[in-house]
Amino acid sequence: MKTLDDLRDFYNNSLTADLNALEARRKSLLSKILCVGAAIAVLALIALLVATQNMGVFFPAVIFPIAIAAAIFGVIIHFSSKGYVREFKTRIIGQIITFIDANLRYDPHRCIPRSTFVASDIFKTKPNRYKGDDYVSGKVGATQVRFSELKAEYESGSGKNRSCRTVFKGLFFIADFNKHFTCKTIILPDTAEKLFGGFGKLFQSWNIARDELIKLEDPEFERYFVVYGNDQVQARYILSTSLMARIVDFRRKTNRQIYLSFIGSNVFVAVPYRKNLFEPKLFSTILNFDLVREYFEDLRLAIGIVDDLNLNTRIWTKQ
């Protein structure tokens, strides 16, 4: 796996030229956007004055022109920066991915399909609003992997009762697991046990939405996770003592809630993120090593799962 020093060399030798070209494009785009923004602000001010003159200073007369102007400005930023975002992703993010592993392919517009997300069975709520981008696929060593950023939401009600709940937002990773198995095993962050201790375990065993509770012998692992599955023995075949320790290490390293599932010889890993991943900056410079480092570390976290979970060790009959 590439280190930060390697990244620094790569940044200085290969990436700077592209970043400079894109920085020029960003600046010209930004000045255009700011001009349009100023024009919109002037128009909004005029509208504001006219409205307050005719209707007096009351809430809608003040808020409407400002809200409409802000919305228009948002739409303009979105559409005018599309080309820049696309170019940034294919040139910069694409290059960083190839730098980490030349066997990986990058497609900024695709994502892990909804059916796969649902099939992973990590989240019980089926999302009805689903989007994603930054799809990466290929082979890391002997292991086939793919991952992308996802945002899955569940929308219910309509009109005033409409509400939208985020099912999952973050990185969704799938890899071919190194052992054969036919069972289903789901690993979720442990919340009940943290809150209720021993009673939490009892509540977990009553979870009717899930299969049987699988109690594992690693106390560290049990503190972080709860495991459900439909085969007690195979679940332990998958979750060998060393894999449990590796999952705990991965959880500590990322310091995020981790969701995993093992279904159909694949391992699914969901890592929630608040921020939008792999998006370029528009209002501040992109000639910044820390920015590139952030992309690199997010990508390395995903690609590194193969090493973290030791998926390239193919000593079992699956090759």
Binding site: K179, H180, I214, K215, L216, E217, Q232, V233, Q234, A235, R236, Y237, S240, T241, S242, T313, I315, W316, T317, Q319
Partner: protein
């Protein structure tokens, strides 16, 4: 009056629930033990393959091969009790490890496709057996807790349920499978 009936029903229901839970736990233990048995059989099925692959090369370790054949025959015989099977399993594991170590002395054998395939199958079955043992120990823990803890212990002693023994994991298997050592590439 209805309160009395409700209270009576609950008082009657609790022992029934405990009784059923105890039976479920006992059956879980038996069920997983059966799985270990299946896994052990799978491993015994591999032994003739192993012997036919290595015997052409291994001239000095004839007695190891004879010993393991005998153990296999004994383990598969119907007259062997469950406890003996557990004992035999430990011995078989030890002998198999010795054979695998002896292979180190025969580079041709070590590199042969047949042996490599067999080795993978062995590593896999060893890990499956270890998973089954862990599952067995987990269900025994569950069962033992129910047998010893209040209030389930009252019903358990009435049912004459006793603590069960854990499946001891042989010392040499307590460490994780080490890929580097297994293949020694």
């Amino acid at each position: 009056m209805p309160y009395v009936i409700i209270i009576l029903a609950v008082v009657l229901l609790i022992p029934v629930l405990i009784y059923n839970a105890l039976i479920a736990k006992k059956n879980q233990v038996l069920n997983v033990f059966a799985t270990i048995d299946v896994m052990l059989k799978k491993r015994y099925d591999l032994i003739p393959n192993l012997i036919s692959t290595v015997k052409g090369y291994m001239q000095h370790e004839r007695d190891l091969l004879t010993r393991i054949t005998e153990m296999r025959a004994k383990a598969l015989s119907d007259r062997t009790s469950d406890d003996d099977k557990v004992d035999l399993d430990g011995k078989v594991t030890k002998t198999l490890n010795n054979i695998m170590l002896a292979v180190e002395n025969y580079p041709d054998l070590k590199a042969s496709q047949n042996f490599l395939h067999l080795q993978r199958a062995m590593v896999e079955i060893e890990e499956q057996i270890s998973a089954a043992r862990r599952a067995y120990n987990a269900s025994v823990t569950d069962y033992n807790n129910a047998v010893e803890m209040f209030p389930t212990n009252i019903i358990a002693s009435m049912m004459n349920y006793k603590r069960r023994r854990f499946f001891e994991i042989p010392k040499e298997q307590r460490q994780n499978v080490d890929a580097g050592r297994a293949f020694n590439n």
